[in-house]
Structure formats: structure tokens, C-alpha cells
Amino acid sequence: MKITDDSPPVLSALDRPNSYIGRSVPRPNLHRLTQGRGQYVSDVTLPRMAHVAFVRSPHAHARIVGIKADAAKKSPGVIAVVTGAELAKVMTPWVGVLTHLKGLKSAPQAPIAVDVACWQGEAVCAVVARSRAEAEDACELVEVNYQELPAVTDPETALDAKTPVIHSSLGDNLCFERKLDFGAVDKAFTNSDAVVETTFMFGRHTGVTTEPRSIVADWNEGDRRMTVYQGTQAPHMMQDLFAKHLGIATDQVRVLTKDVGGSFGIKVHTYADEMATVALSKLLKRPVKFVADRIESFITDIHARDHRVKARIGVTKDGVITAFEIDDLTGIGPYSVYPRTSGIEANQVVNLTGGPYTCPNYRAQARVVFTNKNVMCQYRAVGHPIAVAVTEGLVEMAAAKISMDPLELRRRNLIADDAYPCGSASGLKFEKLSHHESLAHLDSMMNYAGLRAEQKKLRAQGIYRGVGFASFIEVTNPSAAFYGVGGARITSQDGATVKLDSQGAVIVHSGVTEQGQGAEAVLAQCVATSFGVTIDKVRVVTGDTDNTPYGGGTWASRAAGIGGEAAWQAGKALRGNVLAVAGAMLQAKPEDLDIRNGIVVDKAKGTERLALDELARVAYFRPDTLPPGFQAELMATRHYVPRAWPFAFTNGIQASYLEVDTDTGFVKLLKHWCVEDCGTIINPQLVDEQIRGGVVQGIGAALFEQCLYDERGQMLNGNMADYLVPMAAEMPDIECGHVVSPTADSELGAKGAGEAGTAGAPACVMNAINDALRPLGAQPLTDMPFTPGKILRALGKV
């Protein structure tokens, strides 16, 4: 293990001649994006393409009594007006459950509501027209007669006997419940010197991808195939679902994903309006395009994090954490989202809370209830920001209570770096983590002692600065344990096909997808290194179910660790195949040869023997000159799935330094640090940029972002002027550091890095605010986002 900073050369057994592993290679697809020559789904146009707009329920809960569409059908440009009942003949409904989340239940959901609309924004009618503008004009002419029903909007009372049941077939409003009880929790609290108890609130927020969800579906009646251009993270999963619910075979569906304008988990789910677009294309036998506008994004893109967690921690006066106990309640909207379900976030919260610490006494309860608000589901760092904020908030409150430095309390309780393999109280299995080394690195990187001295000095001048920390663990590289075992047709394995072209270049086809995180650069680095060419000779193709190996796509920080390993292995396999050809041509033993910089060389001396373009020329155009019976195979495919561990856990620690204006309640972020351990670092720049982007997304949750609803289930701020997101002026510079503990489950040893920033940032911003305000006697703030109003209330100024 070694500590590395921003641009480290981390070379190991992976260090082949001209290795690209551990190098900050620029991404190959950036040129077209900086020139505005990307191709996002919103850019796609096809011959005879029509546009769909949806009439959406203005009520949180309402019976659809009748729909009058005569005027809309006569509106200029209108091709069809289609109701839920009509579309139900083309596409079957779905139910978002997983069998390994025991007891999880949900109701069938249709592409367009048939009898009852269950949230403000659910589509109740589709209008297809020659242009989007004409479709929207006609939507205004559709008359829907609603009978408003009582809306369930408060998770706290959703299970009360007097609260209406949203789906009567389910019996109650409980979607999922889980309880854990390990160790001797009651005894541990009794034996504690101090117990801190509080309630954490997490604002419901959403992804706000810059490109809204977009889809173009093209049913070709001639070849009976559905081609879907979709900004999705999981093309093969969507292929499977489109086929299943249209009642056709998967090979009749092709999903194409080119450039995607941001995903973050928003674009890995089944959306009713996207399913409706596909069904409408089949119904109308022509291409149909749907691009969500911003209000549609706010009321239909999945929301996340609306959790209330009652929590307590016990600690001895010499700083031993004795117990954690949490009670999590979350309202997930009227449906569990298909096919990943809306039980996962709460499940993660109970799995991850307390995860970095040795404390064996842990009790947790999670209840997931239905409400008449927009659906919630997995968004970047699923559950982690909640579990980390609860755990780390409690840890820093406990430290304050026993007057111990918060880093010292962590040093006394974090799992020791030499204790692995081991597990958590909740049953998670850890292969190798580095909490203490990460903490030590952070301590020196941020000059902690210096900051404390500065803080003390400034307090005397009436300037209130705070330092806050968050240790964390992150789930990455998921095996089939995440979804497959629960019956979902979501693959955890991934594949890569690598072929040598006729001039000696290498083409890689991979099942993972590029959302901007740099997956294509990482795949190119892996293949260039394991095969033996310079990276400019590698071209990567992703996002096409007709032409890539079957794969899961990009989610749960899996693209580099799983897709990268498959690419690495495929490159090695192709090297073996190419050296067999070279051996035949050179009358040498393949094992005495290697490929370096695109040239076949003597392995021992490095003497150049044969260029790849010459080898390809002979293999493709003069195979008659190869030995009789010898067949060149210049294409190789390999797949990879983690088997030894259900998940490759990563770890890290973040710190925030900020200043609170005690007159206005405004928070100024001064600096942010993150040290994390994602195993082998394939591309240091891309890892750091994942961290930085993730941290800022987490800061948004801590300070700005919340989908505000009234008691009738109306979203009050569904636009970007009222829903605040982090912009450049308010964000701090973020310093990244690394510890490297590779996973032994793969040859590369890479774990995921996509969600660590988002996992830890809200917790350490919260802790820093509370650290700043503690000398003023403010009650700790635990209700995200921490708006100026909440801060002033905590200070007793309003």
C-alpha cells in the first residue's frame, strides 16, 4: 500500500512496457464534445419522426373519470391522442419488487395511468404530433375530468389506520420493512458514559441532469424490430424490459446509447413516459421522440433521500463507541420503481450505518412507505449520504459530549488497517480497507492543527469557522448479490470484445456505457496496456445492444472495476492470439514474443520483429502464406464478474472547512478535502474529477437542494430558479488524496470511485457547520439542507 497524491504513478504487476495504468490520459471523446459535435438523444431526428407530449395529472391523487380528446385530435399537426386504456393493449404493466428484499411489495404500474393518477405529474394521456410544439398545443385541448382523492403526503402518518390506502390491493401503505439487531444494544447503552440521541432529516432531492431524459423509439414494421435511442446507463437492461412489456423477443429490440448529458442514477430506471414512447412507436409504426422539459424532469425524474432517521450513539468517557441504534422512515411515492425497486436506499442505510467502526452493538429499523408524491429510487451514492451523515453526525456529537477531538475519537474506533478481512456489525464483508492511513493522510494534507489554531484565533474576533469530518465506506463493483439474486434481469457481469483491424489498430466493444465519467478512456487504457499498443491505436465502442457484449452498463461504481477488468482480460487474450500468428509467421515460439508499442518484439531482448499492420495484412489478405491448418483469430472476447466478494468496498475520509455568517446564516465554503481508497487507480485525473464532482453534488444536498411539497402533494419549486443547485461561485476548491488497497478479486485490482464524493460530503459539511456554531450554544443542525433560515433559527436569531 502506498499513499499517492493528485497525479501519482501507481505501477505494480500491471506495469507492462508502455503501461497506461495509473496515468492521466485525456479522454478520446472530448474533442467532439468541446466542439459541440456530440450526439445526444435530444439531437436525434429520424425520417417520419413524430413527437409526443403528455397530459399530466395536476392532482397528487385523483380518479380519472373521463377524457375528452375530440378538440385535441383536430388540432394542427396532431397524429394521435392516446389514453392509458388504449396503450394498455400494446404494453403490459410492471411491478417493482425484488425477492431478496423480503416482503417488499408494490402495485402494477402502467405506461399511462388508466383509472387513477397517483402523483402530480403522472401522465394520463399522450398526444403525438408532427412537432413538440403542436403536441403541447393539443395537450391543452384535452379535457380530463378528475375526481380528486385524498393524498397521502406525510410518511409519519402513512401507516396510521385512518390514512387512506393508496393501492387497496396491497392492504396497507407499507412497501418494505427491515429490522436488524446485533450484539447487546440495550446493555451497551446502559454501560455508556454518554448517550447522544437526535433526529436527522434529509431533504428530498433529485439529479437535475443537464440533458433531461430523452428517448427516440423507432418500430420498423418491415423487419419487426424496435430501435431505441435512449440516454440510459443500462442499455441491455432496457432492451430486456422493452421486449418483455411489448411481448416481443429481446433480439427484436436494439438500444443505442450515444452521448448522455449526465445520469447520476437518474437514467437507470424504467420511466412510464419512456415506456409509453416505445409503446406509441409500436402502435403508430413510426419513430416517436420524447424529451422531458425541465418541469417534467422535476416531477417525474426519480427523487431520493427523503428520509427521517431517529438515531442514537453510546460512548464511554475514554472514547469507545458502545452502540448505534437507528430508526429510518422514508416515503417513496406511490410505486416502487421498476426493476431496481425503491427499497434499496433504506436497505443501504441500515447496512451501512456504523460501517467504518468496530462497534459490535447495532440495532436498526427501516420502514419504506407509499405516498402520493413523485417516486423515489436510486440516485448517486444510494443510501450512503444518509448512513454517513447519521453515523458521522453522531460520532462528532459524541466527541463534543465527552470533550474529545473528533479525529481522536475516530482513531479509537475505526476498524484497524491490519484487521482485514473482516465484517461490520450489520454483516457487510470487507476485503481490505484503510481507514487509519486515510485519516492520517487527511490530517497532514489539510494541516488540521493549523486550521484549529486559525479557528480559535478568528473566534476571538467574532468570525465563526468550522471543521467537519466524515469517514465513509462505499459499495462498488456489485456482484449478482445486488439485483440478480432478487430475480431482476440486471446483469452484474460485463464483457469486452477486442479485435485487430487491418492496419494494426484495436477496436474494443464493451458492455459498459459512457456517461461522461471517462469509461471509454479507462477501457482504452486497459486494452492498450494489456495488448501492447499506444492508446491512440485503440478505439472504444459502447452503448449498442446489437454490437457490444452483454453487460450491465454503468451504475454502482462498476464501469472501471468490472468493465475495465473484462477489457484488460480481452486485451491479454488478443495478445495471445496475435502472438500465435506472429509465431507462425516468424517461426518462433509465441511465448518468446511480446507486443510493445504496436510491434511484435522478442520478449527477452525487446528486438523488433514484426509490425502489427504487417501481421494484419498477412492474416487478412494473404492467409494463404500462413502454415497449412493454421487459422488466425484476431478477435477475442472476455467477461468478468466479481465472485469472491459480494461488493468491493472502498473507504475514505472527507473534511470541510467553512465559515458561517452568524448575522445572515449564509455558509461560505472555504476548502474541502477527500482522501479515498479505490484500489488500483487506472486514471488519476478521472478519479479525482469523479471525487470533485461527487463532492459538489453532496454539497448541493447539504446546503441547497430540496424538492418542496405542500400537504396536498403539489411540488412547489419545480424549476431551476426555485430549486437551487451548486453553481461555480459558491463552490470551494477540493483537494484529493489517495491510499491504494487493490482488490485481489481481479487482476487490475480496481474498485469504484464514482460515488465516494457524494457519500461523504453532506456529513462533513453538516459537522463543520455544527463545529462553527457550537461555541454559540446552537443546537446541532440535523435537518438538510442547511438553509440560512435554519441556521438563524438554530442561533435563536429568528
Partner: protein, 166 residues
Amino acid sequence: MNDINLDISLAVNGETVVERVEPRTTLVDFLRDGLGLTGSHVGCEHGVCGACTVRVNGEIVRGCLMLAVQCDGATVETIEGLSDSGEIADLQTAFEQRNALQCGYCTPGMIAAAQDLLQRAKETKSVPSRDAIREHLSGNYCRCTGYQAIVDAVEAVAIARAGAPK
């Protein structure tokens, strides 16, 4: 509605364009749907996110807050034109080297806004501070990068341009 459509004539990336448009058509929809200039992106459609930022008569504007009919007689420059002319080549290179974009959806607007700042800095013969760069770009939303890489790239170009021989 056809009876109220209007003819407009404008220069887009140096080419004269004569088109008949509906009065309600925004500039960005006209550029994308009418002219196929898909480098300008639609993000929020109410002037907050900056993804549709283009240059009209030398000033950056929100393509979603301006109507196409308002551009009759105007000179419009989009990311495609700015790229072809080479005017922003150094910014593009810096963005690529610093990985100052991930999904790239905000990038054309972000680069247009950055170029506006750098042109103003050139007039005053100054190099904008990091805070000034952050302030100027704070009308352009990026969900991916966290902004630091963008600030780094713009700062590097600002310094390079200030030091470059005239």
C-alpha cells in the same frame, strides 16, 4: 397559425440564413431544429442553466430567452462557428487536457461564457482571478465536474493569453 409566421434574415456562423419562423420559436430551437446546429443545448428553457448560451452581435445571450424573430438582421455565433474559426481553440484544448467536462452537455455554453470573460479581460489587459472566473461562470450549470477543473482550464488560458506576444 401560418398566417402570422415571419421571414427573418440573419448571419449564422458567417452564413446568410433566410427562414420563415413562428414568432414563438426561441433562438435555440431555431438553431437546433431549423438549422441543425445541435451544439447549442437546451437545459432549463428559462434562462437559468446556460446550456444554450450563444453569441448574438458579439454579446453572449441565452438562446432560450431570445426569440428567433428578434434576431432578424443579427449576427449569431454558435459553438460550431466558434470552433471552425479557431477563436476558442486554446480554451477547447485546455478543457480537454484538464478534463473540465464530463458529459459535455454544458460545455458549449460554458466555453462561450468563458470566452466572453477572456475577451473582457483582454480589453482591460487583466487576468481574471479564480473568484472572478467562478463569478462569471456562475450562470452556467455543470452537474458533473464540481467546477474546479473548469476554473483551472479558464485560468490557464487567461494566463497564457495575457503572456502571449501580441
